[in-house]
Symmetry: C2
Subunit: 232 residues, 2 copies
């Protein structure tokens, strides 16, 4: 079927994906950047990206970019926005689909990440980026906040087992604001998507805090809205 040539006269474009890669460490939301490996603007800080081949979907292209740069597969990915102003890339007319990815930082392939000079930056303080990549980050963060106010996002960013304090600190990092510990606990537990384990973590507090894990998606009840007051 695709051997037929229906659209021979139609224009073709370069199509790329750019990945806004989020991780969480040291109570901070982080962003993975690398020095752009190709001209133009070679060497300047940029999002990781690549062209979309003719036999792969945009999602597959983004997975490929992630796998090459972090060694990780099976990563949460979500479309953010397509950037397509004809002059956005000084190297040519490239339509770029932005994805954001959520990476469990502790299980990354550190050597591969470091190999080409990639670095994690705190979301609150990262260098200026090539082209429209800064705007891509801004859009991606908004979309992540949106998602985080509807779904608990810890599953993709935290270890399998975690304390409620760790989950709260993650949310504080995502929304850049402090949250009331007691209220956060009650709200999150009311969602009934966490299971308390019979273990305690005593490294981060004297008393020790119960560890929780996410109920497997299939078994989880209907998730409810988490009202984090995001108005767009």
């Amino acid at each position: 079927m695709s051997s037929q040539k229906y659209y021979v006269d139609a224009p073709k474009n370069y199509v790329a994906v750019d990945c806004v890669i989020f991780g969480y460490e040291d109570y901070e939301l982080k962003l993975l950047l690398h020095p752009r490996p190709v001209e133009p603007e070679k060497g300047k800080w940029a999002l990781m990206g690549g062209f979309c081949g003719v036999d792969e979907s945009l999602e597959q292209a983004a997975e490929r970019v992630l796998e090459i740069n972090t060694g990780l597969a099976d990563i949460f990915l979500d479309q953010v926005h397509a950037f397509s102003l004809p002059q956005r890339d000084s190297g040519g007319r490239v339509i770029s689909m932005v994805f954001y990815a959520l990476i469990p930082l502790f299980q990354q392939d550190v050597e591969r990440v470091n190999a080409k000079g990639a670095k994690w930056f705190p979301i609150s303080n990262f260098p200026s980026l090539v082209f429209d990549h800064s705007q891509m980050v801004e859009n991606a963060l908004k979309k992540l906040q949106m998602r985080a106010s509807y779904h608990l996002v810890g599953r993709e960013l935290l270890p399998d087992q975690f304390t409620l304090m760790q989950l709260r600190r993650l949310y504080e990092a995502i929304f850049q604001q402090e949250l009331d510990p007691g209220n956060f606990r009650k709200k999150v537990l009311s969602l009934k998507v966490l299971e308390r384990l019979n273990k305690k973590n005593t490294t981060e507090s004297k008393k020790g805090a119960y560890l929780y894990k996410f109920i497997p998606k299939a078994a989880a009840g209907t998730e409810r809205i988490l009202n984090m007051g995001i108005t767009i």
Copy 2:
């Protein structure tokens, strides 16, 4: 700058836009479809679409498609999702960006719309569509519902002046559920984005209802969330 040839070896793809065009009439949300004008699948019901040229953004391409088919410019457009499975279009590998558009139905160019057999269908009952277009409609409706629960969308779909009943009927059409007249009125007015005029519409009720209009965006206060209970 774009005369430089940086990306000569990179793959190129056909890129298209498809528009999910929403209108509102007779207390129903409607969808504009036309018989697909080209092979393959020529003649079957489809969204209006077109290829993205090398000198225009995706948004400009969508505006062009809209202008050609409805005669309207300056239409509200919002990106929905990019569909890019390699086999999604049996005519070739086309990456398609879906937009939804909100059209003030009463000011459309009826002749132009009818010229190529286009028709408005109620959102609750439209024919099956080519390729993945049905899924595009589904995604677009969800996105519209999302937007409508954050922003009052009447500005793009209703006449300049309208009654609160008309606005409520619009929301009932978008969310496919009845809304309490009293509560809707209170909620909407509390947003402080409507201005009551000293005129009444007496064609839809015996008593007559005040007409309202949207406060111009610049002068409007900060819009607040309209909680229509949408969980995604």
